[in-house]
Symmetry: none
């Protein structure tokens, strides 16, 4: 058992070592121009070894996103769990967390986009796919909970919290989060339009607020 566990931990360490190397290489060259050999070299391993830890190149790539989602969720849970904070302060803490995510990996945006490609998804194992979907959804809900709380307390204006979480995420990452994007690209454009319309409304209010009176007269 102890041995089993130690082995498992060792295995996990290797996985992380590879992911870190992959992150570096993908950042520099983009997905399709990075070769498995590049990554192996960066990780100071042989190409064959990579396949002991990841089924294929797509899974390796997807694991980057998984990792950042895990990090994001830890940060979100921490914000949510802090009973001391008012909804407004939580929104601010959320913003802080997002900046840290960005520091952790400035390629978040591109990673998550690449992941959405239906061709990429085909090459992922069902487990990995399920895990990503799960974490995506979870992170969205965690964000949404922050807004929900604000709305419940009458502190935020009354909007659907999930949409707000999307907007927030969109502002941050320049990307509509995985779960939503998938819908957009694969199914229809309505969801995007709703979210964006709401975003623009908020944006417009922020933009004109101070001089609203003037605008109305015009």
């Amino acid at each position: 058992m102890g041995i089993q566990e130690r082995k498992e931990r060792e295995r996990e360490r290797r996985r992380q070592q590879i992911i870190v190397a992959a992150k570096k290489v993908f950042s520099e060259k983009g997905f399709s121009r990075s070769t498995m050999e590049d990554i192996a070299k960066e990780a100071e391993l042989s190409p064959g070894t990579l396949y002991l830890y990841f089924k294929n190149k797509d899974e390796l790539y997807a694991s980057l996103s998984l990792r950042i989602l895990q990090y994001l969720i830890i940060r979100l849970e921490h914000v949510n769990g802090n009973e001391q904070l008012s909804p407004g302060q939580k929104a601010d803490a959320l913003q802080e967390a997002m900046f840290d995510v960005y520091d952790f990996d400035p390629q978040v945006i591109i990673n998550l986009f690449h992941l959405q490609s239906s061709e990429t998804l085909k090459n992922l194992s069902p487990q990995l796919l399920a895990e990503i979907e799960d974490l995506s959804r979870k992170s969205l809900r965690l964000m949404a909970r922050i807004f929900q709380e604000g709305i419940d307390n009458g502190v935020f204006i009354d909007r659907h919290p999930l949409a707000l979480a999307d907007i927030f995420w969109a502002m941050f990452s320049g990307v509509i989060l995985w779960e939503s994007s998938k819908k957009i690209i694969d199914e229809n454009k309505d969801y995007l339009k709703q979210t964006l319309t709401m975003a623009f409304e908020i944006f417009g209010r922020g933009l004109r607020e101070k001089n609203e009176g003037v605008e109305k007269k015009a």
Copy 2:
């Protein structure tokens, strides 16, 4: 003379025919999984013919972005040129224009992202590259002018118009526009943070506006 002109027009028609086919194939499969043969088939041409009109696969892909930027600029110029509209109405018209851009090609986002990869840029001819940079900058300035006008008229609150244009574009397309992104990725992350901080401030205001009093009390 007339012949020269007709030929030129014929040539342009062919280019468009290829671009339309490429757009379709790239949308369906993504860049690296689309082959030149796929595109040729879609365009009902032979692979060799593609190379009479585009230097290589990267240039063909980049031309998609060029095309959408051209369309965007036409729309923006139309909004700007309409003297009838108040700054607020222009902001709304801008939003309309952006939705139309999205209808024109829902892949805008991915296209522009792909374009930012420095590995991709290496394969573009200097002219094409210059043209893209020029149009990117031009579109940003056109958006900025709309906000500038609002600020000058005391209708919008006082922020740097270029940053507002960035935010607007980011909200819409889920992407930080080419000119800015290049800065972010290649140089430093400060510019992004500034823009985002501003975005969050506007967002926060829009979010809490109605109940600001309550929040303050809390």
Copy 3:
């Protein structure tokens, strides 16, 4: 008839125009890296036009060799026909002629080599092939006749004139003439060895001649 003839002359002029262009391009880039389009551009014609005058790229290339062989034969006939010259003077005149051939086209060597490739020969029309073989043989015989005359007059040492012609040609062009090379490459190595053995003998004699006594003592 007059019209027919004028047309034929016009046609020949075009052929020469193309050959001159081809010579230039082939000299600069070598055979396989020269494209028919390069040649067409150099000749200020369209690619299609080239095919009105030459069956294919190989025939165009072969025609270069044909042209130089024709030039060579004219010079050789002139030397042979001059009754004023002694065999020794004819040998000197032969040398002069060869230098002129070289000035006419410094690529002779490479042209004739390329021509020998059996893969190239496959693409030539039987007529062209026959013509080249004929001219090659003719030029060798013309050279041989000069040596024959010297031998008959007791002026040159007694060797087979054809072999002497080969050696002469080899020295000049750095190449064993078409007829011989073909034998060497396609059939066997004996002919080359014979020729070379004789060449080395002559060379050795010329090299040591002055001090032959010394050498013999050693």
Copy 4:
């Protein structure tokens, strides 16, 4: 250490295996009509493997020349190193060596010619290029040393040894050696003419020697 060395030897074996296959295929079809797949098949390897040992098709081809130059130099060093031989005997041994080189690879001539094409040279790595230049020069100097010795001993007539080496090589291979040819083609034709004039002089002497008196009277 031992492992490192064994691997290196194994690697060299593979290189030779490929070179041998390439030699065969190139001999049969010529450079441009031989495909990498042909060569791979002949070597009983996959196309990809060829690229593990040679950067590209041109480098593989150039390596054939390298190999023969290496062989030639070994033979020349052996002749030069034999203190037993008189200059005249060394010249004869040189001739023997050249015949063996020819037996080793009857394509020498064509290989070295191909190598001279400036378009080919562009695709070679600087190291390989330097190595070829070095060996070319070295082999010429080794030949020259044989003639130098003969001249120094008063056995050979007094001419520039390098030019003699060129003539010798030209007779043998039907090609003016790389170093010289490069001068000829890229710079000017003077060097060739000098060499040839000297060759013809030697030729003429060998040709007429027996009957020189007769000729002079005529």
